[in-house]
Subunit: 198 residues, 2 copies
Amino acid sequence: MAGKKVLIVYAHQEPKSFNAALKDTAVQELSVQGCAVTVSDLYAMGFEPRATRSDITGALSSPESFNYGVEAHEAFKRRALASDILAEQRKVQEADLVIFQFPLYWFSVPAIMKGWMDRVLCQGFAFDIPGFYDSGFLKGKLALLSLTTGGVASMYTKAGDSGDFRYFLWPLQVSRQEASPPCFLHLRVTRTVNLFPF
Amino acid sequence: MAGKKVLIVYAHQEPKSFNAALKDTAVQELSVQGCAVTVSDLYAMGFEPRATRSDITGALSSPESFNYGVEAHEAFKRRALASDILAEQRKVQEADLVIFQFPLYWFSVPAIMKGWMDRVLCQGFAFDIPGFYDSGFLKGKLALLSLTTGGVASMYTKAGDSGDFRYFLWPLQVSRQEASPPCFLHLRVTRTVNLFPF
């Protein structure tokens, strides 16, 4: 990994949390290995999750009826996206590996991280039509989901109350297919640490 | 449905959108049928999606290390949640049916709606431990996902590029198991309307 660039997109409110410790450990370990590590600390940044008109600077392409996806795509092409989106896109563009560090909220990422995905990974930047999945624009980068759960590991099996964790991670996995191969790191906030790298 | 109460949680920025038309049609039709319909228009409300310290009024239960789930649960018990959360919980509590109306963003709800789920459906209100899934506190209510997609219907089949839509809706479905039976309404923004009620 020496010489590689890593972006950690991190969503936890508390610097003393287990998620923070995982993020800090990743920064330390990857730095020791010679990587250049950048962290987007979403709560600390007050990152905006809402996809709104404010994301497009200047005039709209079709002001008569606001279509976020269309306007974000057009704004990407003319470099008219909001500065916070451009800054995150720059970090993603430079990264060889993107790590998403988060606690599981309702079987998915917390809203603040969902907002990062909704706003940063816009058409033109992450994909186009055609130009998605195997031909997506982030192809060649690595992505890693590192998440904590409140429940015990057995809850997240096929026979468990919550079902196989691969089911509820599937939407995240398929969304990130541009960055392959998908790779998961699952850790529960206990002394027992479970790794599912695949 | 006469006499029933319906809450529509609606996430689209544009009053002239197809999502808005679906919402408006639902309001009109359900009202004609004798239902009392309430709409939470999340973008118009500027709904806050971020789960932060601001959601708890007054002192924290464990100020030494902020745990959102724990603090929200404690705040729910002592009626110390932020007023916007309490208002939404009141609407959910009164509703017999909750309709989620949204465009699909990255295989899930837009961040503003994910934030509604993260913040409103807190422990103590929607569930407890024990007291989840079949014994969740919203049991007996109906829930309906009404969503639009950018892609054509064939993309969301098992053999399609995006996979069976039931895969990516599964996290939403399992999350909402307290409100059963799950029921989906899938509409694409074209003249061809596809219904998948099951």
